[in-house]
């Protein structure tokens, strides 16, 4: 099973006085859903870009199963904030794209793509054009595309940030179901506190200037949902509300410090 490790990671843009990220240590193992929560400017997206390999760290080591991460690769699947689907392919083509790049024959990759579409509740949408989909459907296609390439870890960059509140809740529940079924480690970044508390098995709270981890919480609400409890029951559980308020207080206290 996959193990992603970040050791003493720092990142700095050339010419910037303070680093974007300083001394980040994280590890993400099987059956984990690690959520990084922080205000804008706390380096959430930079952190994801480092793990995905789009940007190289200025210090520290990122390893996946012991092998250092060098550049982007298919073993780390990414779901983007703005779906980043390819409009010249239909939905099936998009989901099968990773397999096509890997040279998998058409029949085989399309079968796999249909399976992934069914996993995200979009069976029968394969022949649609990308621009005929709603925002939530596009994000589900993005998730199916990342999963079809069978990555060892799944990275999600504020995947539900652009969706309306109702769709967002549906997507969170869908993600938990998919996470439960595929058993892949997920690293997700968000600025939505309730989303973070609901989904995370481990929640890291980031603070800006420089981006650093200020708190780590082990949570089990997502696992409870995956085990069959209803989302509304979890979200109205006093313990959930207490955790949410605690995290909210931490975020606001940082705001006042930095202001």
């Amino acid at each position: 099973m996959a193990l992603l490790e970040l050791e003493r990671i720092s990142a700095q843009y050339p010419g910037a006085p303070t680093p974007v990220l300083a001394d980040i240590n994280l590890s993400l193992g099987p059956r984990q859903l690690l959520v990084a929560l922080g205000p804008s400017g706390s380096g959430k997206t930079s952190l994801l870009n480092l793990i995905a390999g789009f940007v190289a760290p200025s210090g520290g080591r990122i390893t996946l199963d012991g092998a250092p991460v060098q550049g982007p690769g298919a073993e780390r699947g990414v779901v983007f904030q703005d779906d980043a689907l390819l409009p010249w392919q239909d939905v099936l083509g998009n989901v099968a794209f990773g397999l096509e790049l890997a040279g998998v024959p058409r029949a085989q990759r399309e079968a796999k793509a249909r399976e992934m579409l069914a996993l995200v509740d979009l069976a029968g949408f394969g022949e649609r054009r990308v621009w005929q989909l709603s925002g939530g459907q596009k994000q589900r296609v993005g998730l199916a595309r990342a999963l079809a390439a069978d990555p060892r870890v799944l990275l999600m960059d504020e995947p539900f940030g652009a969706l309306d509140a109702f769709t967002r809740e549906q997507m969170q529940e869908l993600l938990l179901q998919v996470w439960q079924r595929t058993a892949k480690p997920v690293f997700l970044i968000t600025h939505d506190i309730e989303e973070a508390v609901f989904l995370a098995t481990e929640l890291v709270l980031l603070a800006p200037n420089p981006g650093r981890v200020v708190e780590r919480l082990q949570l089990d609400f997502g696992q409870r949902y995956a085990a069959g409890e209803s989302a509304r029951a979890i979200k109205s559980d006093p313990r959930f509300i207490e955790t949410r308020e605690h995290v909210l207080a931490r975020v606001f206290s940082q705001r006042q410090e930095s202001a």
Binding site: A74, L86, W88
Partner: protein, 279 residues
């Protein structure tokens, strides 16, 4: 009591909802068609009334008759089809060569820093020169055969396609590139599966612009140095004051340019249906 009248409203005929006169606005296409039709009418009127000498402006009927003669008998040892074929063959050959070379060059300029440094100034240097200004030099180098004409048109078409392709490549959505990279795309696969399709709308626009420039260059080049082609036909007819052939030639040149433009627009709609869709 019977004198008490019922409220007047009860006796009024039931109110019909106010009829809003919805006049359908004239479609733009119809306005354009009407413009052309009135122009034709004015042309016919001034020639039929004898207000203008046929030497200056022949009547539409004369032009049509001349067109038939040209089709059946030809002009200057070549039928109209041969003139037409010569012109279309030249631009077709030049367009094919330009498309095959300008797209890779444009991709290189947009994708690679060194290629941009080498090729960009070269293209930007020759692009603003009117092709007719360097035609004499091409004639000195390559003679007055087909090669020099095709080369001239090729150069005229090359720059717009290369520049449009480079622009298209540079404006590829970085998120799409990253998405493909995170799915394991190699550099070649990125170009083939992401960059080329992303740039396709720009490339097709470049081809449209290039074809427009190429067509005007072709006709101009044929006016100067050729023994066949629509430009040659117009030029030699002018020397003998055969005005109907001149007008016919000009109309044909316009018609072909229009057909090329419409054809490419249709191609653009077919090849890049996602263009202009919010996605």
């Amino acid at each position: 009591m019977s004198s008490i009248e019922l409220p007047a409203t009860a006796k009024r005929p039931p109110r019909t909802p106010p009829v809003v006169k919805t006049r359908k606005p004239l479609p733009t296409r119809w306005i354009s068609a009407l413009t052309l039709a009135s122009l034709l009418l004015v042309w016919w009127l001034v020639t039929a009334a004898g207000w203008i000498e046929p030497l200056f402006l022949p009547s539409p009927a004369d032009i049509l008759a001349k067109g038939w003669t040209l089709l059946t008998q030809g002009y200057m040892d070549a039928s109209l089809w041969q003139h037409l074929g010569a012109s279309l063959g030249r631009i077709g050959l030049a367009l094919l060569a330009a498309t095959l070379t300008a797209i890779p060059v444009g991709i290189a300029i947009g994708y690679n820093r060194v290629a941009r440094g080498v090729l960009d100034p070269l293209i930007e240097f020759y692009r603003p020169i009117p092709p007719l200004a360097y035609l004499p030099l091409i004639v000195i180098w390559c003679g007055i055969g087909e090669l020099s004409k095709v080369l001239l048109i090729y150069l005229a078409i090359f720059a717009p396609i290369a520049i449009a392709t480079a622009t298209g490549v540079r404006t590829v959505d970085p998120a799409k590139l990253r998405a493909a990279q995170s799915l394991g795309a190699s550099k070649i696969q990125l170009i083939r599966h992401v960059i080329l399709p992303s740039a396709l709308p720009d490339i097709l626009t470049g081809i449209r612009i290039g074809l427009g420039v190429g067509w005007s260059t072709l006709v101009a080049a044929e006016l100067i140095a050729a023994t066949s082609g629509l430009g040659f036909m117009v030029q030699s007819a002018a020397q003998f004051l055969v005005t109907d052939v001149v007008v016919l030639g000009i109309l044909l040149i316009a018609l072909i340019a229009f057909a090329l433009e419409m054809g490419l627009r249709a191609l653009q709609r077919k090849l890049v249906p996602w263009h202009g869709q919010s996605h």
